[in-house]
Protein backbone atom coordinates (compact mmCIF):
# COMPACT_ATOMS: atom_id res chain seq x y z
CA UNK A 1 0.00 0.00 0.00
CA UNK A 2 1.29 3.42 -0.92
CA UNK A 3 0.27 6.16 1.46
CA UNK A 4 0.82 9.81 0.67
CA UNK A 5 0.02 12.10 3.58
CA UNK A 6 -0.20 15.89 3.39
CA UNK A 7 2.60 16.19 0.88
CA UNK A 8 3.73 19.74 0.25
CA UNK A 9 6.54 20.94 -1.95
CA UNK A 10 7.20 24.32 -3.47
CA UNK A 11 9.24 24.72 -6.66
CA UNK A 12 8.95 28.48 -6.79
CA UNK A 13 6.60 28.88 -9.73
CA UNK A 14 4.73 25.70 -8.89
CA UNK A 15 3.72 23.89 -5.73
CA UNK A 16 2.08 20.67 -4.69
CA UNK A 17 -0.41 21.39 -1.98
CA UNK A 18 -1.34 19.01 0.82
CA UNK A 19 -1.72 15.96 -1.29
CA UNK A 20 -3.34 12.91 0.28
CA UNK A 21 -3.61 9.62 -1.52
CA UNK A 22 -3.74 5.92 -0.71
CA UNK A 23 -3.04 3.33 -3.37
CA UNK A 24 -3.66 -0.37 -2.68
CA UNK A 25 -1.18 -3.11 -3.50
CA UNK A 26 -1.78 -4.53 -6.95
CA UNK A 27 -3.93 -1.61 -7.98
CA UNK A 28 -3.69 0.08 -11.37
CA UNK A 29 -3.95 3.71 -10.37
CA UNK A 30 -4.08 6.51 -12.93
CA UNK A 31 -3.25 10.10 -12.10
CA UNK A 32 -5.23 12.09 -14.61
CA UNK A 33 -4.97 15.80 -15.20
CA UNK A 34 -4.14 18.55 -17.65
CA UNK A 35 -0.54 19.45 -18.50
CA UNK A 36 1.10 21.35 -15.67
CA UNK A 37 -1.05 19.84 -12.93
CA UNK A 38 2.00 18.37 -11.18
CA UNK A 39 1.33 14.72 -11.95
CA UNK A 40 4.89 13.84 -12.91
CA UNK A 41 6.19 15.56 -9.79
CA UNK A 42 4.05 13.27 -7.64
CA UNK A 43 5.64 10.30 -9.39
CA UNK A 44 9.11 11.74 -8.86
CA UNK A 45 8.36 12.27 -5.18
CA UNK A 46 7.26 8.65 -4.87
CA UNK A 47 10.45 7.58 -6.64
CA UNK A 48 12.54 9.68 -4.26
CA UNK A 49 14.10 11.92 -6.92
CA UNK A 50 12.78 14.80 -4.81
CA UNK A 51 11.96 15.04 -1.15
CA UNK A 52 8.71 16.60 0.06
CA UNK A 53 9.05 19.67 2.29
CA UNK A 54 6.13 18.57 4.44
CA UNK A 55 4.19 15.35 4.83
CA UNK A 56 5.35 11.81 4.25
CA UNK A 57 5.13 8.89 1.89
CA UNK A 58 5.06 5.30 3.07
CA UNK A 59 5.20 1.98 1.25
CA UNK A 60 3.44 -0.86 3.11
CA UNK A 61 3.43 1.10 6.33
CA UNK A 62 7.13 1.96 6.28
CA UNK A 63 7.87 5.62 5.76
CA UNK A 64 10.27 6.02 2.84
CA UNK A 65 11.16 9.49 4.12
CA UNK A 66 14.59 10.34 2.81
CA UNK A 67 15.27 6.83 1.49
CA UNK A 68 17.24 7.23 -1.72
CA UNK A 69 15.62 6.13 -5.00
CA UNK A 70 17.83 3.06 -5.46
CA UNK A 71 16.55 1.57 -2.21
CA UNK A 72 12.82 1.93 -2.93
CA UNK A 73 12.49 -0.99 -5.35
CA UNK A 74 10.48 0.95 -7.88
CA UNK A 75 10.39 0.82 -11.64
CA UNK A 76 10.22 4.17 -13.37
CA UNK A 77 9.41 4.73 -17.04
CA UNK A 78 9.76 8.29 -18.26
CA UNK A 79 7.74 9.79 -21.06
CA UNK A 80 10.84 9.99 -23.28
CA UNK A 81 11.81 6.45 -22.10
CA UNK A 82 15.27 7.66 -20.96
CA UNK A 83 17.11 4.69 -22.41
CA UNK A 84 20.87 4.87 -21.97
CA UNK A 85 22.11 5.90 -25.42
CA UNK A 86 25.58 4.43 -24.92
CA UNK A 87 24.32 0.93 -24.23
CA UNK A 88 22.54 -1.50 -26.53
CA UNK A 89 19.07 -2.80 -25.72
CA UNK A 90 20.35 -5.87 -23.87
CA UNK A 91 22.66 -3.79 -21.66
CA UNK A 92 19.85 -1.33 -20.99
CA UNK A 93 17.59 -4.14 -19.81
CA UNK A 94 20.38 -5.68 -17.75
CA UNK A 95 21.42 -2.39 -16.12
CA UNK A 96 19.33 -2.86 -12.97
CA UNK A 97 20.68 -6.36 -12.39
CA UNK A 98 24.22 -5.14 -12.94
CA UNK A 99 23.76 -2.36 -10.38
CA UNK A 100 22.32 -4.82 -7.88
CA UNK A 101 25.04 -7.37 -8.49
CA UNK A 102 22.59 -10.01 -9.72
CA UNK A 103 24.35 -12.68 -11.77
CA UNK A 104 22.72 -14.08 -14.92
CA UNK A 105 19.68 -11.82 -15.14
CA UNK A 106 16.90 -13.25 -17.30
CA UNK A 107 17.28 -10.62 -20.01
CA UNK A 108 16.25 -12.92 -22.83
CA UNK A 109 13.15 -14.16 -21.01
CA UNK A 110 12.06 -10.61 -20.29
CA UNK A 111 12.78 -9.57 -23.88
CA UNK A 112 10.75 -12.48 -25.19
CA UNK A 113 7.89 -11.66 -22.84
CA UNK A 114 7.72 -8.14 -24.29
CA UNK A 115 8.52 -9.31 -27.82
CA UNK A 116 11.78 -7.41 -28.19
CA UNK A 117 14.26 -10.31 -28.22
CA UNK A 118 15.08 -9.58 -31.88
CA UNK A 119 16.43 -6.11 -31.06
CA UNK A 120 18.69 -6.94 -28.10
CA UNK A 121 21.81 -5.80 -29.95
CA UNK A 122 20.37 -2.62 -31.44
CA UNK A 123 21.12 0.84 -30.17
CA UNK A 124 18.17 2.65 -28.55
CA UNK A 125 18.27 5.56 -30.99
CA UNK A 126 17.56 3.23 -33.93
CA UNK A 127 14.32 1.98 -32.37
CA UNK A 128 10.76 3.11 -32.98
CA UNK A 129 8.85 4.78 -30.14
CA UNK A 130 6.91 1.62 -29.37
CA UNK A 131 10.07 -0.48 -29.24
CA UNK A 132 11.80 2.05 -26.98
CA UNK A 133 8.77 1.96 -24.73
CA UNK A 134 8.92 -1.81 -24.41
CA UNK A 135 12.67 -1.71 -23.73
CA UNK A 136 12.10 0.86 -20.98
CA UNK A 137 9.36 -1.36 -19.56
CA UNK A 138 11.58 -4.44 -19.70
CA UNK A 139 14.40 -2.54 -17.99
CA UNK A 140 12.06 -1.50 -15.19
CA UNK A 141 10.31 -4.88 -14.80
CA UNK A 142 13.41 -7.08 -14.68
CA UNK A 143 14.23 -5.85 -11.17
CA UNK A 144 10.82 -7.08 -9.95
CA UNK A 145 9.72 -3.70 -8.64
CA UNK A 146 7.05 -3.43 -5.97
CA UNK A 147 5.68 -0.37 -7.73
CA UNK A 148 5.79 0.56 -11.39
CA UNK A 149 5.67 4.30 -12.03
CA UNK A 150 4.72 5.30 -15.58
CA UNK A 151 5.00 8.88 -16.78
CA UNK A 152 2.74 9.49 -19.80
CA UNK A 153 3.72 6.13 -21.28
CA UNK A 154 1.51 6.41 -24.36
CA UNK A 155 1.57 10.07 -25.24
CA UNK A 156 4.53 9.97 -27.62
CA UNK A 157 3.20 7.01 -29.60
CA UNK A 158 1.06 6.84 -32.72
CA UNK A 159 -2.53 5.58 -32.23
CA UNK A 160 -1.84 2.06 -33.48
CA UNK A 161 1.17 1.62 -31.16
CA UNK A 162 -0.78 3.19 -28.31
CA UNK A 163 -3.32 0.43 -28.64
CA UNK A 164 -0.62 -2.27 -28.58
CA UNK A 165 1.12 -0.68 -25.63
CA UNK A 166 -2.14 -0.39 -23.72
CA UNK A 167 -2.62 -4.11 -24.15
CA UNK A 168 0.94 -4.76 -22.99
CA UNK A 169 0.43 -2.63 -19.89
CA UNK A 170 -2.76 -4.52 -19.07
CA UNK A 171 -1.01 -7.83 -19.59
CA UNK A 172 1.97 -6.82 -17.45
CA UNK A 173 -0.33 -5.71 -14.67
CA UNK A 174 -2.35 -8.92 -14.80
CA UNK A 175 0.70 -11.19 -15.03
CA UNK A 176 2.88 -9.58 -12.38
CA UNK A 177 0.33 -8.04 -10.05
CA UNK A 178 2.66 -5.07 -9.66
CA UNK A 179 1.16 -1.88 -8.26
CA UNK A 180 1.02 0.61 -11.13
CA UNK A 181 0.84 4.37 -10.86
CA UNK A 182 0.30 5.77 -14.33
CA UNK A 183 0.29 9.46 -15.16
CA UNK A 184 -1.65 10.75 -18.15
CA UNK A 185 -3.62 13.67 -19.51
CA UNK A 186 -5.66 11.36 -21.73
CA UNK A 187 -8.99 10.46 -20.20
CA UNK A 188 -9.60 7.57 -22.58
CA UNK A 189 -6.34 6.00 -21.50
CA UNK A 190 -7.33 6.50 -17.87
CA UNK A 191 -10.75 4.99 -18.29
CA UNK A 192 -9.52 1.97 -20.19
CA UNK A 193 -6.64 1.06 -17.88
CA UNK A 194 -7.47 2.30 -14.41
CA UNK A 195 -8.86 0.46 -11.42
CA UNK A 196 -9.09 3.90 -9.83
CA UNK A 197 -8.38 7.39 -11.06
CA UNK A 198 -7.13 10.44 -9.23
CA UNK A 199 -7.85 13.73 -10.98
CA UNK A 200 -5.11 16.33 -10.44
CA UNK A 201 -5.39 20.02 -11.13
CA UNK A 202 -3.11 22.94 -10.22
CA UNK A 203 -0.96 20.89 -7.88
CA UNK A 204 -3.85 19.38 -5.94
CA UNK A 205 -5.84 16.16 -6.05
CA UNK A 206 -9.42 17.09 -6.88
CA UNK A 207 -11.19 13.76 -7.01
CA UNK A 208 -10.34 10.10 -6.51
CA UNK A 209 -12.62 7.28 -7.56
CA UNK A 210 -13.37 4.48 -9.96
CA UNK A 211 -13.62 5.45 -13.64
CA UNK A 212 -17.39 5.19 -13.35
CA UNK A 213 -17.47 7.63 -10.44
CA UNK A 214 -15.09 10.10 -12.09
CA UNK A 215 -16.80 10.18 -15.46
CA UNK A 216 -20.40 9.98 -14.30
CA UNK A 217 -20.16 12.08 -11.15
CA UNK A 218 -17.38 14.62 -11.59
CA UNK A 219 -16.72 16.40 -8.29
CA UNK A 220 -16.92 19.90 -9.72
CA UNK A 221 -17.17 21.90 -12.92
CA UNK A 222 -13.45 21.84 -13.57
CA UNK A 223 -13.34 18.07 -13.40
CA UNK A 224 -16.49 17.87 -15.50
CA UNK A 225 -14.94 20.15 -18.11
CA UNK A 226 -11.81 18.09 -18.19
CA UNK A 227 -13.28 14.58 -18.22
CA UNK A 228 -16.85 15.11 -19.16
CA UNK A 229 -16.87 15.72 -22.87
CA UNK A 230 -15.60 12.68 -24.69
CA UNK A 231 -17.84 9.61 -24.54
CA UNK A 232 -16.07 6.42 -23.57
CA UNK A 233 -18.13 3.35 -22.78
CA UNK A 234 -17.42 -0.24 -22.08
CA UNK A 235 -19.32 -3.10 -23.63
CA UNK A 236 -19.30 -6.76 -24.64
CA UNK A 237 -19.32 -7.86 -28.27
CA UNK A 238 -22.53 -9.81 -28.85
CA UNK A 239 -22.11 -10.31 -32.56
CA UNK A 240 -19.23 -9.91 -35.00
CA UNK A 241 -19.79 -10.11 -38.72
CA UNK A 242 -17.47 -8.97 -41.50
CA UNK A 243 -16.08 -5.97 -39.68
CA UNK A 244 -19.34 -4.95 -38.09
CA UNK A 245 -19.92 -5.65 -34.43
CA UNK A 246 -22.83 -5.36 -32.07
CA UNK A 247 -22.05 -4.23 -28.57
CA UNK A 248 -24.00 -4.63 -25.43
CA UNK A 249 -23.54 -1.50 -23.32
CA UNK A 250 -25.61 -1.68 -20.14
CA UNK A 251 -28.37 -3.43 -22.06
CA UNK A 252 -28.24 -1.08 -25.04
CA UNK A 253 -27.35 -2.57 -28.40
CA UNK A 254 -24.79 -0.47 -30.22
CA UNK A 255 -23.52 -1.05 -33.71
CA UNK A 256 -19.89 -0.25 -34.54
CA UNK A 257 -17.08 -1.09 -36.93
CA UNK A 258 -14.35 -3.38 -35.65
CA UNK A 259 -12.79 -6.83 -36.00
CA UNK A 260 -13.19 -7.88 -32.38
CA UNK A 261 -14.63 -11.33 -31.81
CA UNK A 262 -17.80 -12.23 -29.97
CA UNK A 263 -17.68 -12.04 -26.14
CA UNK A 264 -14.67 -9.73 -26.04
CA UNK A 265 -14.83 -6.71 -23.77
CA UNK A 266 -14.06 -3.50 -25.62
CA UNK A 267 -14.23 0.24 -25.19
CA UNK A 268 -16.03 2.51 -27.57
CA UNK A 269 -15.12 6.19 -28.00
CA UNK A 270 -17.60 8.57 -29.50
CA UNK A 271 -16.97 12.24 -30.07
CA UNK A 272 -19.92 14.26 -28.71
CA UNK A 273 -20.15 16.38 -31.86
CA UNK A 274 -21.05 13.19 -33.74
CA UNK A 275 -24.15 12.65 -31.64
CA UNK A 276 -27.32 14.01 -33.24
CA UNK A 277 -30.37 14.96 -31.21
CA UNK A 278 -33.86 15.17 -32.70
CA UNK A 279 -37.37 15.39 -31.33
CA UNK A 280 -38.83 12.72 -33.58
CA UNK A 281 -37.45 9.61 -35.23
CA UNK A 282 -36.43 10.08 -38.84
CA UNK A 283 -35.02 7.82 -41.52
CA UNK A 284 -31.24 8.15 -41.86
CA UNK A 285 -28.05 6.22 -42.47
CA UNK A 286 -27.11 6.27 -38.79
CA UNK A 287 -27.04 2.68 -37.47
CA UNK A 288 -27.62 3.70 -33.86
CA UNK A 289 -30.85 5.33 -32.81
CA UNK A 290 -32.09 5.50 -29.21
CA UNK A 291 -34.69 7.18 -27.11
CA UNK A 292 -33.05 9.20 -24.37
CA UNK A 293 -33.77 11.69 -21.62
CA UNK A 294 -32.01 15.03 -21.40
CA UNK A 295 -30.31 15.10 -18.00
CA UNK A 296 -28.53 18.42 -18.06
CA UNK A 297 -27.41 21.15 -20.43
CA UNK A 298 -24.29 23.24 -20.04
CA UNK A 299 -23.04 26.12 -22.12
CA UNK A 300 -19.56 25.71 -23.58
CA UNK A 301 -18.90 28.83 -25.64
CA UNK A 302 -21.10 28.79 -28.72
CA UNK A 303 -21.88 25.15 -28.08
CA UNK A 304 -24.07 23.37 -25.61
CA UNK A 305 -23.12 20.15 -23.91
CA UNK A 306 -26.18 18.01 -23.51
CA UNK A 307 -25.94 15.06 -21.17
CA UNK A 308 -28.29 12.31 -22.23
CA UNK A 309 -29.43 9.20 -20.42
CA UNK A 310 -30.03 6.27 -22.74
CA UNK A 311 -31.51 4.15 -19.96
CA UNK A 312 -29.83 1.63 -17.65
CA UNK A 313 -27.27 4.07 -16.31
CA UNK A 314 -25.75 4.68 -19.75
CA UNK A 315 -25.09 8.36 -20.28
CA UNK A 316 -23.53 10.06 -23.26
CA UNK A 317 -22.74 13.65 -24.11
CA UNK A 318 -23.69 15.51 -27.21
CA UNK A 319 -22.37 18.85 -28.41
CA UNK A 320 -24.87 20.93 -30.32
CA UNK A 321 -25.09 24.59 -31.25
CA UNK A 322 -27.21 26.91 -29.13
CA UNK A 323 -29.30 27.60 -32.20
CA UNK A 324 -30.19 23.91 -32.55
CA UNK A 325 -31.16 23.80 -28.90
CA UNK A 326 -33.42 26.81 -29.32
CA UNK A 327 -35.06 25.46 -32.46
CA UNK A 328 -35.66 22.08 -30.81
CA UNK A 329 -36.79 23.86 -27.63
CA UNK A 330 -34.56 21.49 -25.65
CA UNK A 331 -34.72 21.41 -21.87
CA UNK A 332 -33.75 18.95 -19.14
CA UNK A 333 -36.24 16.12 -18.76
CA UNK A 334 -37.23 16.09 -22.45
CA UNK A 335 -37.57 12.77 -24.23
CA UNK A 336 -35.51 12.93 -27.42
CA UNK A 337 -34.17 10.71 -30.17
CA UNK A 338 -30.40 10.29 -30.22
CA UNK A 339 -28.53 8.95 -33.21
CA UNK A 340 -24.95 8.37 -34.25
CA UNK A 341 -23.27 6.48 -37.05
CA UNK A 342 -21.56 3.14 -36.51
CA UNK A 343 -18.50 4.63 -38.20
CA UNK A 344 -18.36 7.42 -35.62
CA UNK A 345 -17.51 4.96 -32.87
CA UNK A 346 -13.83 4.22 -32.39
CA UNK A 347 -13.40 0.80 -30.80
CA UNK A 348 -10.31 0.07 -28.71
Amino acid sequence: MIEIKNIYRNWGDFSLKNLNLTIQNGEYFVLLGPTGAGKTLVLELMAGFYQPEKGYISFNGNSVGTLSPEKRNIGFVYQNYSLFPHMDVGKNIGFGARMRGIKNPKIRDMAEYLDISHILHRNPETLSGGEQQRVALARALIINPDILLLDEPLSALDPRTQEDTRKILKKVHEDTGVTVVHVTHDQTEARVLADRIGVMMDGGLVQVGTPGEIFNKPANNKVADFVGVENVFNGIVTQSNKGMINLDVNGNNICAISDYEKDETVYGCLRPENVTISKTEFESSARNTFYATVLEMELMGVLLRVKLNMGNDFNINSLITRQSATELDLKPGDRVVVSFKAAAIHII
Binding site: P69, E70, G75, Y78, S82, F84, P85, F95, M99, I143
Partner: protein, 275 residues
Protein backbone atom coordinates in the same frame (compact mmCIF):
# COMPACT_ATOMS: atom_id res chain seq x y z
CA UNK B 1 12.24 30.81 -70.71
CA UNK B 2 10.74 31.13 -67.22
CA UNK B 3 13.19 28.47 -66.07
CA UNK B 4 16.21 30.59 -67.02
CA UNK B 5 14.67 33.52 -65.24
CA UNK B 6 14.41 31.64 -61.95
CA UNK B 7 18.01 30.62 -62.25
CA UNK B 8 19.07 34.20 -62.80
CA UNK B 9 16.93 35.19 -59.84
CA UNK B 10 18.64 32.50 -57.81
CA UNK B 11 22.00 33.98 -58.64
CA UNK B 12 20.76 37.46 -57.87
CA UNK B 13 19.60 36.27 -54.46
CA UNK B 14 23.09 35.70 -53.08
CA UNK B 15 22.81 37.62 -49.87
CA UNK B 16 25.21 40.57 -49.64
CA UNK B 17 25.48 40.15 -45.89
CA UNK B 18 26.66 36.57 -46.25
CA UNK B 19 29.21 37.70 -48.88
CA UNK B 20 30.70 40.14 -46.38
CA UNK B 21 30.63 37.54 -43.61
CA UNK B 22 32.36 35.06 -45.87
CA UNK B 23 35.00 37.66 -46.60
CA UNK B 24 35.59 38.11 -42.87
CA UNK B 25 36.00 34.37 -42.48
CA UNK B 26 38.55 34.32 -45.30
CA UNK B 27 40.61 37.12 -43.79
CA UNK B 28 40.65 35.53 -40.35
CA UNK B 29 41.55 32.11 -41.71
CA UNK B 30 44.27 33.59 -43.93
CA UNK B 31 45.68 35.62 -41.05
CA UNK B 32 46.08 32.60 -38.75
CA UNK B 33 47.11 30.11 -41.37
CA UNK B 34 49.62 32.25 -43.24
CA UNK B 35 51.28 33.48 -40.06
CA UNK B 36 52.00 30.00 -38.79
CA UNK B 37 52.70 28.28 -42.08
CA UNK B 38 54.97 31.10 -43.24
CA UNK B 39 57.12 30.67 -40.17
CA UNK B 40 57.37 26.92 -40.62
CA UNK B 41 57.97 27.05 -44.37
CA UNK B 42 60.55 29.80 -44.15
CA UNK B 43 62.45 27.95 -41.46
CA UNK B 44 62.55 24.80 -43.53
CA UNK B 45 63.40 26.50 -46.82
CA UNK B 46 65.94 29.10 -45.67
CA UNK B 47 67.47 27.49 -42.60
CA UNK B 48 66.84 23.76 -42.49
CA UNK B 49 70.17 23.14 -40.79
CA UNK B 50 69.07 25.41 -37.92
CA UNK B 51 66.05 23.17 -37.39
CA UNK B 52 68.23 20.05 -37.38
CA UNK B 53 70.53 21.75 -34.91
CA UNK B 54 67.58 22.50 -32.64
CA UNK B 55 66.46 18.86 -32.78
CA UNK B 56 69.96 17.83 -31.69
CA UNK B 57 70.11 20.42 -28.91
CA UNK B 58 69.34 18.58 -25.67
CA UNK B 59 68.27 21.74 -23.82
CA UNK B 60 65.68 22.38 -26.56
CA UNK B 61 64.30 18.87 -26.35
CA UNK B 62 64.26 19.03 -22.57
CA UNK B 63 62.34 22.30 -22.64
CA UNK B 64 59.76 20.99 -25.10
CA UNK B 65 59.36 17.78 -23.13
CA UNK B 66 58.99 19.76 -19.92
CA UNK B 67 56.26 21.86 -21.56
CA UNK B 68 54.32 18.75 -22.54
CA UNK B 69 54.94 17.01 -19.22
CA UNK B 70 54.10 19.88 -16.88
CA UNK B 71 51.10 20.73 -19.11
CA UNK B 72 49.96 17.14 -18.70
CA UNK B 73 50.33 17.32 -14.92
CA UNK B 74 48.37 20.60 -14.84
CA UNK B 75 45.64 18.99 -16.96
CA UNK B 76 45.54 15.93 -14.71
CA UNK B 77 45.03 18.09 -11.61
CA UNK B 78 42.50 20.23 -13.49
CA UNK B 79 40.62 17.04 -14.35
CA UNK B 80 40.63 15.68 -10.81
CA UNK B 81 39.41 19.00 -9.39
CA UNK B 82 37.43 20.30 -12.37
CA UNK B 83 35.19 17.32 -13.10
CA UNK B 84 33.53 17.21 -9.65
CA UNK B 85 33.27 21.01 -9.68
CA UNK B 86 31.67 20.95 -13.10
CA UNK B 87 29.17 18.28 -12.03
CA UNK B 88 28.07 20.35 -9.05
CA UNK B 89 27.72 23.48 -11.18
CA UNK B 90 25.77 21.59 -13.84
CA UNK B 91 23.38 19.76 -11.51
CA UNK B 92 22.89 21.71 -8.32
CA UNK B 93 21.47 25.09 -7.50
CA UNK B 94 22.86 26.79 -4.44
CA UNK B 95 23.25 30.24 -3.02
CA UNK B 96 26.15 32.17 -4.54
CA UNK B 97 26.47 29.80 -7.49
CA UNK B 98 26.75 32.61 -10.02
CA UNK B 99 29.45 34.33 -7.98
CA UNK B 100 31.37 31.07 -7.65
CA UNK B 101 31.17 30.55 -11.40
CA UNK B 102 32.48 34.07 -12.03
CA UNK B 103 35.37 33.58 -9.61
CA UNK B 104 36.36 30.30 -11.26
CA UNK B 105 36.41 32.10 -14.62
CA UNK B 106 38.66 34.99 -13.54
CA UNK B 107 41.94 33.35 -14.67
CA UNK B 108 40.64 33.49 -18.26
CA UNK B 109 40.34 37.29 -18.20
CA UNK B 110 43.29 38.26 -15.96
CA UNK B 111 46.48 39.34 -17.81
CA UNK B 112 48.95 36.50 -17.46
CA UNK B 113 51.69 38.61 -15.95
CA UNK B 114 49.18 39.69 -13.31
CA UNK B 115 48.42 36.03 -12.66
CA UNK B 116 52.17 35.46 -12.37
CA UNK B 117 52.62 38.21 -9.79
CA UNK B 118 49.69 36.89 -7.78
CA UNK B 119 51.01 33.33 -7.93
CA UNK B 120 54.48 34.45 -6.93
CA UNK B 121 53.05 36.35 -3.99
CA UNK B 122 51.22 33.34 -2.62
CA UNK B 123 53.54 30.51 -3.69
CA UNK B 124 56.80 32.38 -3.12
CA UNK B 125 59.08 31.59 -0.19
CA UNK B 126 57.23 34.05 2.09
CA UNK B 127 53.82 33.48 0.56
CA UNK B 128 50.66 32.33 2.25
CA UNK B 129 51.00 28.84 0.78
CA UNK B 130 54.68 28.83 -0.22
CA UNK B 131 55.95 29.61 3.27
CA UNK B 132 54.35 26.78 5.29
CA UNK B 133 55.07 24.26 2.51
CA UNK B 134 58.69 25.32 2.04
CA UNK B 135 60.18 22.29 3.73
CA UNK B 136 58.02 19.90 1.67
CA UNK B 137 57.78 21.45 -1.79
CA UNK B 138 59.38 24.44 -3.48
CA UNK B 139 57.44 26.39 -6.09
CA UNK B 140 59.89 29.11 -7.02
CA UNK B 141 61.98 27.99 -9.98
CA UNK B 142 60.77 24.41 -9.77
CA UNK B 143 58.52 22.01 -11.66
CA UNK B 144 55.83 22.45 -9.02
CA UNK B 145 55.80 26.18 -9.76
CA UNK B 146 55.44 25.60 -13.49
CA UNK B 147 52.56 23.19 -12.90
CA UNK B 148 50.81 25.54 -10.47
CA UNK B 149 51.09 28.47 -12.90
CA UNK B 150 49.76 26.36 -15.75
CA UNK B 151 46.96 24.99 -13.55
CA UNK B 152 45.83 28.47 -12.59
CA UNK B 153 45.38 29.69 -16.15
CA UNK B 154 44.14 26.51 -17.80
CA UNK B 155 41.78 24.87 -15.28
CA UNK B 156 38.75 27.02 -16.26
CA UNK B 157 38.84 25.62 -19.81
CA UNK B 158 38.41 22.07 -18.58
CA UNK B 159 35.84 22.97 -15.94
CA UNK B 160 33.67 24.91 -18.37
CA UNK B 161 33.77 22.23 -21.03
CA UNK B 162 32.99 19.53 -18.47
CA UNK B 163 30.08 21.56 -17.12
CA UNK B 164 28.65 21.87 -20.61
CA UNK B 165 29.09 18.13 -21.02
CA UNK B 166 27.24 17.31 -17.80
CA UNK B 167 24.49 19.79 -18.67
CA UNK B 168 23.99 18.00 -21.98
CA UNK B 169 23.19 14.74 -20.15
CA UNK B 170 19.48 14.54 -19.36
CA UNK B 171 19.08 14.30 -15.55
CA UNK B 172 16.24 11.88 -16.19
CA UNK B 173 18.84 9.34 -17.36
CA UNK B 174 20.44 9.60 -13.93
CA UNK B 175 17.03 9.27 -12.29
CA UNK B 176 16.28 6.19 -14.36
CA UNK B 177 19.61 4.68 -13.32
CA UNK B 178 18.87 5.43 -9.67
CA UNK B 179 15.44 3.86 -9.83
CA UNK B 180 17.12 0.74 -11.23
CA UNK B 181 19.25 0.44 -8.13
CA UNK B 182 22.29 2.57 -8.85
CA UNK B 183 23.50 4.79 -6.01
CA UNK B 184 24.38 8.30 -7.13
CA UNK B 185 28.08 7.50 -7.62
CA UNK B 186 27.26 4.54 -9.85
CA UNK B 187 24.76 6.55 -11.87
CA UNK B 188 27.53 9.12 -12.33
CA UNK B 189 30.17 6.56 -13.22
CA UNK B 190 28.13 4.40 -15.59
CA UNK B 191 25.75 6.92 -17.14
CA UNK B 192 26.64 10.60 -16.76
CA UNK B 193 30.41 10.34 -17.05
CA UNK B 194 30.52 8.21 -20.22
CA UNK B 195 27.85 10.36 -21.86
CA UNK B 196 29.84 13.51 -21.14
CA UNK B 197 33.18 11.95 -22.10
CA UNK B 198 33.50 13.71 -25.42
CA UNK B 199 33.17 17.08 -23.70
CA UNK B 200 35.64 15.95 -21.05
CA UNK B 201 38.22 14.99 -23.67
CA UNK B 202 37.73 18.22 -25.62
CA UNK B 203 38.06 20.19 -22.38
CA UNK B 204 41.22 18.30 -21.46
CA UNK B 205 42.78 18.99 -24.85
CA UNK B 206 41.99 22.70 -24.55
CA UNK B 207 43.30 22.74 -21.00
CA UNK B 208 46.54 21.05 -22.02
CA UNK B 209 47.00 23.35 -25.01
CA UNK B 210 46.43 26.36 -22.82
CA UNK B 211 48.92 25.04 -20.24
CA UNK B 212 51.64 24.44 -22.84
CA UNK B 213 51.17 27.89 -24.33
CA UNK B 214 51.38 29.65 -20.98
CA UNK B 215 54.37 31.97 -20.63
CA UNK B 216 53.62 35.06 -18.57
CA UNK B 217 52.57 33.34 -15.36
CA UNK B 218 55.19 30.60 -15.68
CA UNK B 219 58.25 32.90 -15.97
CA UNK B 220 57.17 34.91 -12.93
CA UNK B 221 56.98 31.84 -10.69
CA UNK B 222 59.35 29.40 -12.36
CA UNK B 223 61.79 30.78 -14.93
CA UNK B 224 63.76 27.60 -14.41
CA UNK B 225 63.55 24.77 -15.30
CA UNK B 226 62.81 26.30 -18.69
CA UNK B 227 59.72 25.28 -20.61
CA UNK B 228 59.52 25.71 -24.39
CA UNK B 229 58.12 29.25 -24.48
CA UNK B 230 60.65 30.45 -21.87
CA UNK B 231 63.56 29.02 -23.84
CA UNK B 232 62.27 30.65 -27.03
CA UNK B 233 61.99 33.97 -25.23
CA UNK B 234 65.48 33.68 -23.74
CA UNK B 235 67.11 32.77 -27.06
CA UNK B 236 65.21 35.57 -28.77
CA UNK B 237 66.32 38.28 -26.34
CA UNK B 238 69.92 37.08 -26.20
CA UNK B 239 70.56 35.83 -29.75
CA UNK B 240 67.69 37.00 -31.93
CA UNK B 241 65.20 35.50 -34.36
CA UNK B 242 67.50 33.07 -36.12
CA UNK B 243 68.29 31.23 -32.88
CA UNK B 244 64.77 31.25 -31.44
CA UNK B 245 62.65 30.45 -34.48
CA UNK B 246 63.80 26.83 -34.93
CA UNK B 247 62.69 26.08 -31.39
CA UNK B 248 59.35 27.77 -32.03
CA UNK B 249 58.85 25.72 -35.18
CA UNK B 250 59.79 22.54 -33.37
CA UNK B 251 57.42 23.28 -30.47
CA UNK B 252 54.50 24.03 -32.75
CA UNK B 253 55.10 20.95 -34.91
CA UNK B 254 55.20 18.66 -31.88
CA UNK B 255 52.14 20.14 -30.20
CA UNK B 256 50.12 20.39 -33.42
CA UNK B 257 50.81 16.74 -34.20
CA UNK B 258 49.59 15.71 -30.77
CA UNK B 259 46.49 17.90 -30.95
CA UNK B 260 45.54 16.70 -34.42
CA UNK B 261 45.77 13.11 -33.22
CA UNK B 262 43.67 13.86 -30.12
CA UNK B 263 41.11 15.76 -32.19
CA UNK B 264 40.81 12.83 -34.53
CA UNK B 265 40.23 10.51 -31.59
CA UNK B 266 37.60 12.78 -30.05
CA UNK B 267 35.72 13.41 -33.29
CA UNK B 268 35.61 9.66 -33.83
CA UNK B 269 33.75 9.29 -30.55
CA UNK B 270 30.02 9.02 -30.90
CA UNK B 271 27.91 11.91 -29.86
CA UNK B 272 25.21 11.33 -27.30
CA UNK B 273 24.46 14.98 -26.69
CA UNK B 274 20.88 15.84 -25.92
CA UNK B 275 18.98 17.00 -28.98
Amino acid sequence: MPRIKTRLNGLGQINPMLVIFFLSLSILLFFVFITLSNMIVQQIVSDFSGLIEAVRDSSVLEAIFLSLYSGFLATLISFILGVPTAYLLARKDFIGKRIIESILDIPVVVPHTVAGIALLTIFGANGLIGDPLESIVQFRDALAGTVVAMLFVSAPYLTNSAREGFQSVDPRLENAARSLGAPLWKAFLFVTFPLASRHLLTGSIMCWARAISEFGAVIMLAYYPMVGPTLIYERFTSMGLSESRPIAVLLILVTLTIFVILRMISSGWRRYDRD
